[in-house]
């Protein structure tokens, strides 16, 4: 075929027409997807809720065509973008625990107050402090919790035994009930085995001490309190651990180095939320059976745990609420634990066999005996929308001390001054 100007023009016209047609096509298709009652979209991320439970939900709710989609990438960003466009919002969406403060503070009107749909009647099924995380100042409940992250001490039974430390969960819980006791055990371990460290992450005493408190970096009146005694105490705890030499050499969590350290016994223990169990399974599958769980040094704390919410502009709110309560009933919550390792926020599931079963990775220990009591003892803490941004310099400077031996006092003053700048930008006074 000879290439002439006319042919080129024809081709151009056809392409243009084709584009226009396909644009119309996809537009109308998406529009019908958001029509209430017919199809109901559910947005989750990978690992949000058990895929088997979602599959069963599609079969169970025959009055609608339930279409769960696993949204990859930056979940919060995609949800915010869709809300900004005011179209094609799902009927139900997950909200990650670290994002709930932002949504609650800045975008509360984008969600249905679940109390208006009867959530107040079933609230007692869920741990109270977790519900409080999703409750606005004026009492609106934006989401029901899927899972929580009660924290515990994960430790290597075999390494503790060789170093002459207590080995059984009860004994470890008793012997390392405070951070100081835990650090003392770390010093003992280091003497017996210089290649093993009781703390895997130099920032973790800081992070988890803050999780144990009721205050964070910004108070309820939107004041910056990151330079006050409670943060300084947490900071000093991390510095002390580093100075005692009981923190492993720097390895970014999730990096090749960190995975190797879990495998070859450089990390003798690790403080983390219930879901940290999955990190261990993925990082060090060969160490299965050698790990145990004990209570957290310094008292119970929570880290993470997500919610299911109903966007105000999504479809049929009543049915959506019915679906959420079904997805989060004790039986399905137990399945999410088994399939995903997300620890249930619905306390009704704690007595079910799926939850109380011995965990082979923990050498047959019944992990629920550690997590369930911790879950009930956690205190609510206030987290402002800008909290993550303001806390960042502290984490970053602690890493400088850990990885690069920066002077701790210099690091602290740098962290405070940077945090104050960020606070100012974020509108915190």
């Amino acid at each position: 075929m000879e290439l002439t100007r006319r042919r080129l023009l024809q081709a151009g016209l056809l392409t243009g027409a084709g584009l226009a047609a396909s644009a119309c096509g996809s537009g109308s298709g998406a529009a019908s997807a958001s029509l209430a009652g017919k199809k109901m979209a559910v947005w989750v991320w990978d690992g949000c809720i058990s895929p088997n439970v979602l599959k069963d939900a599609v079969a169970h709710f025959t009055q609608t065509k339930l279409t769960p989609s696993v949204i990859g990438g930056d979940f919060k960003q995609k949800l915010v973008t869709t809300m900004t466009s005011r179209a094609f919002l799902p009927s139900i969406t997950g909200v990650k625990g670290e994002d709930i403060a932002t949504f609650k503070g800045n975008y509360a009107e984008q969600f249905v107050d679940l109390n208006t749909l009867g959530a107040d009647k079933i609230a007692s099924q869920y741990v109270a402090w977790k519900l409080k995380q999703a409750t606005t100042k004026d009492g609106k409940l934006l989401g029901l919790p899927i899972d929580i992250g009660p924290c515990a001490l994960f430790y290597r039974h075999d390494i503790f035994a060789k170093a002459g430390l207590p080995t059984e969960p009860d004994a470890v819980s008793a012997a390392m009930s405070t951070w100081d006791d835990y650090f003392a055990a770390g010093v003992k371990l280091k003497k017996a085995n210089p290649k093993s460290f009781i703390i895997d992450d130099g920032t973790s005493p800081f992070t988890y001490t803050i999780q144990q408190g009721t205050k964070r970096f910004i108070d309820e009146n939107n004041h910056f309190i990151g330079d006050q005694a409670h943060i300084r105490a947490a900071w000093d705890r991390s510095i002390k651990a580093m100075q005692l030499g009981i923190v492993a050499p720097f390895a970014d969590p999730g990096s090749t180095d960190s995975n190797a350290a879990y495998n070859n016994g450089v990390f003798a223990s690790s403080v983390g939320a219930a879901w940290h169990y999955l990190d261990l399974v993925q990082a060090a599958p060969k160490t299965s059976g050698k790990w145990r769980v004990a209570t957290m040094p310094g008292g119970p704390a929570n880290f993470g745990g997500s919610f299911l919410t109903i966007p105000a502009q999504g479809g049929d709110h009543k049915l959506a609420f019915e679906i959420i309560t079904w997805l989060l009933n004790p039986q399905n919550e137990a399945r999410t634990w088994v399939d995903n390792g997300n620890f249930a926020a619905n306390t009704g599931s704690y007595t079910l066999p799926a939850m109380t079963a011995p965990v082979p990775f923990f050498g047959g220990q019944k992990a629920i005996e550690i997590f369930a009591p911790a879950a009930q003892k956690i205190q609510a803490q206030y987290e402002a929308p800008a909290d993550a941004a303001v806390s960042d310099p502290f984490q970053s400077e602690l890493k400088n001390v850990w990885a690069k031996k920066k002077d701790p006092e210099k690091a602290w003053s740098d962290a405070v001054s940077t945090a104050k700048q960020i606070a100012q930008r974020q509108g915190v006074n």
Partner: protein
Amino acid sequence: MAAPQAAVKGPGRKRAVVTFWPQYLAISPFYVLFAVFMLGPVLFSLYLAFHKWDGLGPMHYTGLQNFRFLVKDSLFWQSLTNTFAIWFLSTVPMLFLALVLAAMLNASVRFGGFYRVAYFVPNVTSLVAVAIFFGSVFANQVGLINDVLRWLHIPAVGWMTGSFTVKLVIASLITWQWTGYNAIIYLAGMQAIDSELYEAARIDGAGPVQCFRRITIPQLRPIILFTVIMSAIGSMQTFTEPQVLFGSTDATNPDTGGPGHAGLTTVLYLYREAFDFNQYGYGAAIAWALFLVILLFTAINWGMVTRFGRRRAG
């Protein structure tokens, strides 16, 4: 050819648009897509740079507030320094290696086609996969390079922690990925050089090194200028490499860019401010500050390379 005549005779430009509507329609898809997906966002980000916006609520006009914050923000300046350091560490070896590779490819070698493809493959390899691979090679305790060093009884290097080595790792990744691409561009330029020039030089007794220095490089001047500017613009926007190498897996602590933010480039910083911390106005301000920096930098580059070329020619 009636149409052009009509346009010439026509009273004004409006008539031309009417007369040539099929042509305009034919080229419109590109411009429509460009306007919607490029021009629109660019203009919107300029508007955004003067506002405080959390991504969903109302926008508040704040004038130059974002830029005032920016000037005082030590992390922004650090990110610019990081970006320049990474640019320098990657561009210099990359363009040098590319020239050498191109010269080798230009000499008639066996399997020339194979080599061309082989050198280009890194450029089309998924960046995320490559970054994960480099992360393993340079890992502090279990990385391949440190294993080799230990085997040679040389103390291991903390590649992923040192503020200089972090930049070196990112720069080596960029070099690895883009050397082949630049070599292909140079090769195309070399093949356009008149072979009579080389023949004349050889008759006058010039060796291969002299030919390369006195003929190839001066003749390639516009192409070298092109690659310098393109790699500068590309490097100024480095994002994925540090994002994958040092992106924290811990979502509650987006401590991006590695220990001490040593690998935090400006684009990674703007991404963090806008999308992790919901400061969209501030993120836009960073983007426009970066635009000004690139503009200035390109002008300097241009001036330097053209002056260098003129001196050479004269």
